[in-house]
Symmetry: C2
Subunit: 380 residues, 2 copies
């Protein structure tokens, strides 16, 4: 990675084209030297197309707004993991030798959707037949997971509240975050239920935003910077779309497979990772992620969070940018935003939220309720 750009996340005035342009321009500007966008050989856009503003063929808009006319572009859509899988495709384009420089962008404009249509658009990434049309929302899906988790492992809702409190504390240090206000565990536990046991402050918000990444082959990268961020290894996995077809409600098989592949490719141990960016669309998702990624035994993530180890300054910070919970979750943008965080942290330019001495990072992006997942390991 030789460049990365990020818009503010939140309820923004800008339309989707402007967001895309801002993120790409910021990525281009971030390259240390000698970069010309005409060197970009291919582009990948991760987006769900929330609200249907451009439901099909939207990758052409990436070429337009990035001002790379004629360059091949593809839309990759795996729900909330769209940009994670777009990044995976980009890595293959570089590794294969087909391209020297590749652009990855993630985008979602969610707040334009009329409120009467938001439930539809939030539901389209779940199983249509057995979940969406039966009335199960995404908060409902994760609420089911959280119920089983708390009961199975005798965990109290404090652990969920700690995830929210931690991520809000981190988000307060991130100028791009949608929520930059700390909340206490007590405030989380006093917020209204959305899908028992998940409360309002357990849920990520509805967000507009975009992020963009510039990848280059190793030789080319050194022409652009002395401090590239390396993709040490990536992995991905899938699972049944509908919850009812899965073996477990408290573990995502897609994440487990993705992590195994990423660590195998990178030849790094889990212990070598300095901080994690995990997919915390709901607080319960962060607990499951830590366990499925191999950082806690089943049921053990709760104690890990409550110990403070996952906070900035702890032994292995999780979601220093505030995570989906506080930074916001513009569906198709999230995977690129996580990689952006790896880029700025590993180059020591993350400002107030800098993880001291960070040299290796892991990002984890989940599609829907776990039908797909990517894990990527980055190093300096």
């Amino acid at each position: 990675m030789v460049g990365a750009g990020h818009t503010r996340f939140g309820a923004l005035a800008e339309g989707p084209r402007a967001l895309l342009r801002q993120a790409v321009d910021a990525a281009v500007t971030s390259v240390d030297r000698g970069f010309d966008r005409s060197s970009i050989g291919e582009g990948f856009l991760g987006t769900l197309g929330f609200s249907g503003w451009q439901l099909g063929n939207s990758s052409a808009i990436l070429a337009e707004e990035a001002r790379i006319p004629r360059v091949p572009v593809s839309r990759v859509e795996n729900a909330c993991a769209s940009a994670g899988f777009a990044l995976r495709a980009a890595i293959r384009a570089i590794e294969s030798g087909a391209q020297d420089v590749v652009l990855v962008a993630g985008l979602e404009k969610m707040t334009d959707a009329p409120s009467t249509r938001r439930r539809y658009w939030l539901g389209v990434s779940g199983d249509t037949e057995w979940e969406r049309l039966a009335g199960l929302t995404f908060a409902g899906v994760y609420g089911l997971m959280a119920s089983v988790y708390l009961a199975q492992h005798h965990v109290l809702p404090e652990a969920l509240a700690e995830v929210a409190a931690k991520n809000h504390a981190h988000g307060a240090l991130n100028p791009n975050a949608q929520f930059q206000k700390p909340v206490t565990r007590e405030q989380v536990l006093a917020s209204p239920f959305v899908a028992d046991p998940l409360r309002l402050l357990d849920c990520c918000p509805v967000t507009d935003g975009a992020a963009a990444l510039l990848l280059a082959g190793e030789e080319k990268a050194h022409a652009f910077t002395d401090t590239p961020v390396y993709v040490a290894g990536d992995g991905a996995g899938s699972d049944s779309l509908a919850l009812q077809d899965r073996g477990s409600l408290t573990s995502l098989a897609a994440t487990r497979r993705a992590a195994d592949e990423a660590f195998r490719r990178s030849a790094l141990d889990r212990s070598a990772i300095d901080f994690l960016e995990v997919h915390d669309c709901f607080t319960i998702a962060e607990l499951l992620a830590l366990e499925d990624l191999g950082y806690a035994p089943p049921g053990g993530a709760a104690a890990l969070e409550l110990s403070g180890a996952t906070r900035l300054g702890g032994s292995r910070p999780v979601n220093p940018d505030g995570g989906l919970k506080a930074k916001g979750h513009p569906i198709g943008a999230t995977g690129a935003s996580q990689a952006y965080e790896a880029f700025v942290q590993l180059r020591g330019s993350a400002g107030a939220r800098q993880v001291r001495g960070a040299e290796r990072a892991l990002t984890h992006n989940v599609g829907g309720s776990g039908a797909s997942a990517t894990v990527t390991v980055f190093t300096v």
Copy 2:
């Protein structure tokens, strides 16, 4: 390519899951020896998701119906070129060494959409702001191109009618084709206008169908068959989404760029290609394709078609399977269907529509009205 499968194309009783399963099972069965689907390391699904039966996260359904649990899958969506770009991603996955065996599938179930919603779903791949919401349909877009083409090059509608007559003649030899009935030029010219100068028989139909491809690295491929079909080179390109932003209405810059890249990578001359599968969503599109691919000068494709050279038995047959026009055009499936045709033709198993002695084929897949395009060159 070591295997390829294809459903019937048409207005089918089967739902999307069943179509996907049929195509993948047929691809697996088509492999000559020793193939086990557990060797598939990654999957790519090309689909627009017409009718919204599963608008987001549909790649998980490929893993389910292919019975490859946990295997990473991505949806690639570039409108009508979705499967062409899915194939491109698959080629990179193999070339990079990341995967030995990859599955590509294309799918669309169009006839389930209520008739009142079909115009919406057909329009979502055009520019939303300046085309769809202004009332311009896809037939309208190509009608504009055809009008300019006929006027600019002093070509009569007979040339368009010949494309339809030829492709219907070819489709009559293809047991998977939606239309297996020949039509005469006179019948085409007597059919009602849809978007002047395009008539009903100038337009491809609304179609259900799926196709699947199995790709393997060269070494692995020889374990499965003595007669693999090789990807000699692939290319892709893009253009502005909206017609009004393009330099020309009678040439697709995306196709030109894609062809240049594919021929450069394959190190083959255009003259080496024995037959072409081009994206004839409307008859005019086939004329533009022949010119943009370099087989006729601007305006020259009309005479080429009228000469009979593009018919089976001619010097360079075009769309021996009937093309989108007669075989049908299930949006996300078309790019995979074209590669399927290359597979069966180059292995000499195309039956009544066999191109005698075919050793090299080119496939050409266009997204929407030309916002994106892929070109792939296959050889024995």
